[in-house]
C-alpha cells in the first residue's frame, strides 16, 4: 500500500501563488489532454488496455444505452439535446475521458428539484447498456435553493460507457445521491461526478460499486459559498478479476466548509484490484475547514491488490480539522473468536462480521428498499466467493 502524501504550505504573500498538484486544470477541449500512456499519476493504477479504447476514442460511438427515469410529480425530469444552455456550466472536465464524454454524448438527462420543494419520493435514473461499443452520457441534477431530494442513479447491463454527472446543490438545499454500479461482469465505465455545494447546502453521496470488469469513478466536490457540507460514502465489493477505482477530490476553496469521505470495500478472489485515491485541498486564504477522509479494505482471500492513497494539500494555517486514515487487512480473528465463543459457527461468524463491516455504511442510506437490495447483492457476491 502506498503511503499518504501530505503537503502543507503556509499562506504566502507575493511571489508565486501556491499551485495545487491535485487540482488539475480543466478543459472542454479533448486535445488539451494527451492520450494517457499509464505512467501519469492519475492513470498509473488503471489498466488502460481494459478501458477498451474509452481513453482514445478510436472506435465508433456505436454503443447503445437506454435511460429510464422515474420521479415524483413535483420534480422535473427532461431529456435534452447537446445545445441545452444549462449543461456544462458547473464544471470543466479534468481528464481526457471526461472531455471525450462531454464532446460525444447526444442526449442528456436533466433533473430539477424546484426551489423550496421537498421531493416526496426518490428520483430514479436507470442507465442500461445493451451491448458493446462505446457510449457516452450526461446527467445534470439541480437542487434549487432550499429544496430537498434523493436521487438514485443506477447503471446496469453491458456497456463501454463514459459520462459526466453534474450535481448542483444551491443555497440551503439538501441533495442525497446514491450511485449504484451494478453492471454485468463485462462492462467498462469511467464516470465523473462534479458537485457544486452552495451556501449552507448539504450534499451526501453513496457510491456503491459491485459490478463491471473495470469501473473508474471520480467524484469531485467544490463549494460556491461558506457553510457547505459534503459527505461522500463509498462501498465496493471487488471480486476476482475486477478493477474498481474510486478517486475523490474535495476542494475546500471557500471558508467554513465541511467534508467527510468514507470508502469501504471488500476484495475476494485472484486479481481483484481496488484503488482508492482521496484528494483533499484546503485552499489559500480559507478558514474553518473541517475535513476527514477514511478508506478501509477487507481482504478476504489471497491474490487481491489494494492501492489506497490519501492526499492532503493545505494552503492555509487556519484549519478547523483535517485528517485521514487508511487501513487494509483481513477479518479480525478476535471478532470471529468472540462470535464463535457464543456458539456461532465459523462460516456464519465470518458472514456476520463482513455484513457488519458494510452495514455501518449501508444503514446510513435513508431509502429502506435500497438498503435491503444492496445488502442482498453484497451477500450474493459473498456467497459467490466463499
Amino acid at each position: 500500500m502506498a503511503s499518504p502524501n501530505i503537503e502543507i504550505k503556509e499562506h504566502s504573500h507575493g511571489g508565486e501563488l501556491p499551485v495545487s498538484k491535485l487540482d488539475v486544470h480543466g478543459s472542454f477541449d479533448v486535445a488539451d489532454f494527451p492520450v494517457p500512456n499509464g505512467r501519469e499519476e492519475e492513470w498509473r493504477f488503471t489498466p488502460l488496455r481494459r478501458l477498451r479504447g474509452l481513453h482514445q476514442h478510436t472506435e465508433a460511438t456505436d454503443g447503445k444505452i437506454t435511460v429510464e427515469t422515474d420521479a415524483p410529480a413535483e420534480v422535473t425530469v427532461e431529456t435534452v439535446g447537446r445545445d441545452d444552455a444549462r449543461l456544462g456550466t458547473s464544471f470543466l472536465p479534468t481528464d481526457r475521458v471526461s472531455a471525450l464524454a462531454y464532446a460525444s454524448f447526444t442526449e442528456a438527462t436533466v433533473v430539477t428539484v424546484p426551489k423550496e420543494t421537498q421531493a416526496s419520493a426518490p428520483v430514479s435514473i436507470k442507465v442500461t447498456g445493451t451491448g458493446q461499443g462505446e457510449s457516452y452520457g450526461h446527467i445534470l441534477v439541480r437542487a434549487e435553493r432550499h429544496s430537498a431530494a434523493t436521487v438514485v442513479l443506477e447503471y446496469a447491463g453491458s456497456a463501454v460507457h463514459a459520462d459526466n454527472v453534474e450535481f448542483v446543490v444551491e443555497d440551503g438545499a439538501q441533495l442525497t445521491v446514491v450511485s449504484l454500479q451494478d453492471w454485468e461482469r463485462d462492462a467498462v465505465q469511467v464516470s465523473h461526478h462534479y458537485t457544486k455545494v452552495g451556501r449552507d447546502a448539504r450534499f451526501r453521496s453513496f457510491v456503491v460499486t459491485l459490478g463491471g470488469d473495470l469501473v473508474r469513478l471520480s467524484p469531485k466536490v467544490g463549494y460556491t459559498a461558506p457553510g457547505g457540507d459534503a459527505e461522500l460514502y463509498g462501498l465496493y465489493f471487488t471480486g476476482a478479476g475486477q478493477h474498481h477505482e474510486h478517486r475523490s477530490l474535495i476542494d475546500h476553496n471557500v471558508s467554513n466548509t465541511r467534508s467527510r469521505v468514507e470508502y469501504k470495500g471488500a476484495l475476494s478472489g485472484e486479481e481483484a484490484h481496488a484503488v482508492w485515491i482521496g484528494d483533499v485541498i484546503i485552499g489559500e486564504g480559507t478558514e474553518g475547514t473541517d475535513s476527514y477522509e477514511h478508506n478501509r479494505n477487507l481482504v478476504l482471500t489471497d491474490g487481491t491488490r489494494v492501492d489506497s492513497v490519501p492526499n492532503l494539500e493545505i494552503f492555509t494555517g487556519e484549519v478547523e480539522g483535517a485528517g485521514h486514515a487508511s487501513a487494509s487487512g483481513r477479518l479480525d480473528d478476535i471478532h470471529l473468536f468472540y462470535l464463535q465463543s457464543r456458539g456461532i459457527p465459523a462460516d456464519e461468524a465470518r458472514k456476520l462480521v463482513i455484513r457488519g463491516f458494510f452495514a455501518e455504511l449501508i444503514n446510513r442510506i435513508e431509502v429502506p428498499e435500497l438498503r435491503e437490495r444492496i445488502m442482498t447483492e453484497v451477500e450474493e457476491k459473498l456467497a459467490l466467493h466463499e
Partner: protein
Amino acid sequence: MTKFEIRGLRADVLIGAEERQEILKGVDLTINSGETHAIMGPNGSGKSTLAYAIAGHPKYEITDGEVLLDGENVLEMGVDERARAGLFLAMQYPVEVPGVSMSNFLRSAVTAVRGEAPKLRAFSKELQEAMKGLSIDPSFAARGVNEGFSGGEKKRHEILQLELLKPKVAILDETDSGLDVDALKVVSEGINRARATGEIGVMLITHYTRILNYVKPDFVHVFAHGQVAESGGPELAEVLEAEGYERFVKAGA
C-alpha cells in the same frame, strides 16, 4: 449433573510469530454443576489465560493436559463447538463487533446453542425480560455488539448472554472489575439467577473479594505462577482479604 475437569493443563501465550511464553504450568481443577469456585490470585498469575485457553482464544496454545466436560475433551472441539457443548466465557474485555446488531448477534447465538431458531416473538419477549433484569436500556438491542459501550455496559451484556445461553459451565473472568457498587449488585443478581437452577458450574475469576459478598462461592482457589497454589472453603477468601497475595507472589518467584 455435569462434571467439568481440568487436568494438568499447560498453555503458552503466543507473542508475535516466533516468540511464546508458558503461562499455565499444570492446572488441576474439578467443578461440578451446582458449585461455584472462586479463582483468586495476583495480577499476572495466569487467571485470565486459564479462561481464554479453555475457550480457545487464538492467542493461546495448549501444550499439554485436557479439559473434560462430562468426559468429552473440549480441547478437541472448535471454539463454537465448545460453546454449543455448554461452555461459556464471560470476558474481562468483551469484543466490539461493529455493524452487527446486538439483537441479531444474540439471536444467532441462541439459535446455534439451542440447535433451533427461537420463535421471533417469544425470543423478543425473552430478550426484553432478560435485559430488564440487568437494567439494560432496550435501545441497546439495536446497537452494534459492544460498540461504544462503557465497561459496565459490556459486563451487563456478558451476563445477559450467560442468562440466555444457559451453559453447563460458566467461566466469569473478572466480571466485577470496573463496576461500581450498584452495577456490581445488578450483575451479581444475574449470576445468581443463572446459579439458582443448580444446573450450572461456575468458575468465578477475580482479583478482589468484593464480588464474593454477593456471589457466595463454595470453594476458593488461589492461583499463582500458572497453577492452583492453595484450595479451601469461603474462609480462604477472608484470609486473602486480610493478608493479600504477598506470600503467593514470593513463593516460587
